[in-house]
Amino acid sequence: MSNNATTLKRVEDVVIRFAGDSGDGMQLTGGRFTETTAIVGNDLSTLPDYPAEIRAPAGSLAGVSAFQIHFSSKDIHTPGDQPDVLVVMNPAALKVHLPDLIPGGTIIVNRNAFTDKNLKMAGYDSNPLDDGSLNEKYTVYDIEMGKLVINACKDLNLPPKTVERTKNMLALGFLFWMYDRPLDTTIKWLRIKFAKRPELIEANVRAVRTGYNYGETTETFTTRYTVAKAKLPAGKYRNINGNYALSLGLVAASEKANIPLFYGGYPITPASEVLHSLSAWKHFGIRTFQAEDEIAGVTSAIGAAFAGSLAVTATSGPGVALKTEALGLAVMAELPLVVINVQRGGPSTGLPTKTEQADLLQAMYGRNGEAPIPVLAAATPGDCFYVAYEAARVAIKYMTPVIVLTDGYLAHGSEPWVIPKAEDLPAIKVEHPNSIHEGDPGFMPYRRDPESLARPWAIPGVEGLEHRIGGLEKENITGNVNYDPDNHHFMIKIRAQKVANIVNEIPPTEVYGPESGKMLILSWGGTFGSNRAAVDRLRKEGIEVSHLHLRWINPLPKDLGEILIRFEKILIPEINLGQLSKIIRADYLVDAQGLNLVRGRPFRASDIMNAVKEKLG
């Protein structure tokens, strides 16, 4: 029950950013708010934003970790351009994130962290909570979070430091009150997380409740908000992030293909969670191999593919660079292999925890020799499931490595996801021959399927099919080592043709909005949401613009060329300096223009809207 003075205000959508020190548990707090928000039926999209350093010095600007959630009663596509509400646990978090807060937005702040030392570390000369600088422009909820949890847990006899750590749960409880959300999912989760430490369950549950009650009983807080359920398509839902969805997609492919999944990989941000998930699912017969390096990650997978597994490796850009030579071997040996690049900021070590799309040309061309590899990219966190599944299906059908591009935003961002049924997923047919082709004197490892051009996947252990493959050029059909000039030319062409044939797997392209007109926004990968949100808003403003989002980049869809020429202008927003633009301009001779912002974060829909308006004059 709420006190009488409180009003409940209905809003359509809200963007909240949680920000604090790396040790303040902001990712966890955001994650719990997200779970509850999903369960109450809002559409949502999240953006974790954390530093590469595990624990930069406490209170420093470098150590600030943030988590943004956008939730709504409508169908939404992005984690939001700017937060409406900023939760800050210390001065450094305020310093870093205040510039992003919308004018007149709300700040929820932990006053107890605004000590002289912390203020100094954040570069404040005076305390912004007291000097009036914030109150003029924003609504400030100034809460002594540290003190409140200490009081709440007084009788538990826990060390003050332990109790102080529950202040994130207090902030969470307060937000649950403010946005009218239940506590039970979080309490249930705390009971499981701290199952072996009952005293921590108690402290954290008290902190959540204290936060909630603080809102309820403090008279200064007069407004609560409610966000109605979103009208989402019917179905069973869960909240999902990209790396988890991708891992599920791989297991699904292995189950549907009825061959064991082998994962070879080396830990790397932001791809490591794929290794973690798959390692936990051993009851599916999955073999995960944490290799000594990126090269062994991919080469062990190539070995497993030779032996008949659904072979997968996942990494990020620097890891792909190391795997490059092995990818050429997989092309030459014509073995099925799924290679996942969860892109991060580059070059070199770059921005390990930030998102980017600058590995597209690496995926397309980054190998010695003519080494075509199919490339497809996920559009949303949930789409990572389908892209991983499709990659596995195509890799097996065409006996080829396939590169899947996702990115740091998709990997860790989350959204509600309609859970598919295993029986509804497309079949994946695996054929391992067990006899020699009729009329052949022996087994011919490069006798191809006339339609797909795939070679047979004969695996060791089958009597009579003993054969050798390798990285040297092969003679067509026999697979024997061959240095003949005409054979080499023929094999180069047939490998290219095989990958080109995958175009037949791509359904007709859908254009969102009019089929022709003044402007088409062409996008790929994790920028789907920003672009779709921008198009929706532009159209609401009466500006005619269409959107085409590519899943397949190699090969490109058959009908893409004819669609492109129906538009006067083409804008390609990418988080790189124009890599898809280069491909489109080269392949279709159209004057595609880029919008290229490489800041380590997703586009704001407003960035794209402004670019469209500018181009349309």
Partner: protein, 342 residues
């Protein structure tokens, strides 16, 4: 040792010869290794289709093309990693890695040591000719200090690797050495490699007739071989010399060559007895290489049982199935918090 086969076919060496013509230089030591392998394999009692040869790059790495088994000639240095994937994907296969001193110890050194510490049940045949052959004569990581080659006109300043010592350092469970010219010994070592459950590391001294001819000359010529080679046998005293009149004695942990001539004060009781399960002895023996005052050992340096990677991997899968039941895809997809939108 993988499995006993009930209805094994009878094979001959010709069953293991592929149709491809062998393209090593005439007189290359690789021919002898190929011949001994083709000779030994029919005796192992394994169906031919279960053998897989994996190689990297280099002269030695052409080996799989000449064996009529499953084979994969891969890329430089990665045979060990690729073989790990093959074995883990199908532990029923008998996996053989053919590599060289450059492929296995230089560009692929990292994978080699990690394979040995993991102890997958695969066999490494490391052809050591102490030179780069396929790239035409640069020094290798096993070339001796001061070696004059195309890339070291004033002599190599790289201190060489000592393969058995490296293998022991990486905690290999089986470390052995043989010489291309000692065919019977090589057959025995190939069999021992096969029989070992875990990674077997077999270094094969192999002569490159073109770029490093005679590298092991003293160990193969009739005049000198008795004084330069120490034949290791488990449980036997370490004797060498034409009439076994010389032996190895340990003074603390320091080895010495002692004479057992009549004039000598030493007797056979003073000679170190080889114990394949003693890592310290194996380690001391491994350091005889490159030291002219000692004979170079051949035979099994070290052989112990150690946990095998794929055995443990499969056991974890079995246990996971036992605890959680066999994975069900729909259950997994719906795990965690879910809700229904009507």
């Amino acid at each position: 040792m993988t499995e006993t086969v009930s209805k094994t076919k009878k094979y001959t060496r010709m069953d293991f010869a592929s149709s491809q013509s062998v393209r090593w230089c005439p007189g290359c030591g690789d021919y002898a290794i190929l011949a001994q392998t083709q000779k030994v394999f029919p005796e192992l009692g394994v169906p031919k289709e279960k053998f897989v040869f994996i190689s990297g790059i280099g002269c030695s790495s052409r080996f799989p093309y000449y064996m009529n088994t499953y084979g994969f000639h891969t890329i430089h240095g990665r045979a060990t990693a690729i073989a790990s994937g093959v074995k883990l994907a199908n532990p029923d296969l008998s996996v053989w890695i053919v590599t060289g001193d450059g492929d296995g110890l230089s560009i692929g050194g990292n994978h080699t040591i990690h394979l040995m510490r993991r102890n997958l049940d695969v066999n490494i045949l490391l052809f050591n000719n102490r030179i780069y052959g396929l790239t035409k004569g640069q020094y290798s990581p096993t070339s001796e200090l001061g070696k004059i080659t195309k890339s070291t006109p004033m002599g190599s300043i790289d201190r060489p690797f000592n393969p058995p010592s490296l293998a022991l350092g990486a905690d290999a469970s089986f470390v052995a050495r043989t010489i291309d010219r000692e065919t019977k010994h090589m057959q025995a070592m190939l069999k021992r490699s096969y029989e070992h459950h875990g990674t077997s590391f077999l270094e094969i001294y192999q002569n490159c007739v073109i770029f490093n001819d005679g590298a092991y000359g003293p160990m193969t010529s009739k005049e000198t071989k008795y004084d330069t080679v120490l034949w290791l046998e488990h449980g036997k005293p370490m004797l060498f010399g034409k009439n076994k009149q010389k032996g190895i004695r340990l003074d603390g942990n320091v080895p010495h060559v002692i004479s057992l001539d009549e004039s000598s004060n030493w007797s056979i009781d003073d000679v170190l007895v080889h114990d394949e399960t003693d890592w310290i002895i194996a380690s001391i023996l491994s350091h005889f290489t490159y030291r002219p005052e000692f004979p170079d050992p051949i035979g099994v340096f070290y052989a112990v049982d150690a946990p095998v990677y794929e055995d443990m991997a499969l056991e974890q899968i079995r246990k996971a199935v036992e605890l959680q039941g066999k994975g069900n895809l729909d259950d997994l997809l719906c795990s965690g918090d879910t809700w229904v939108v009507e």
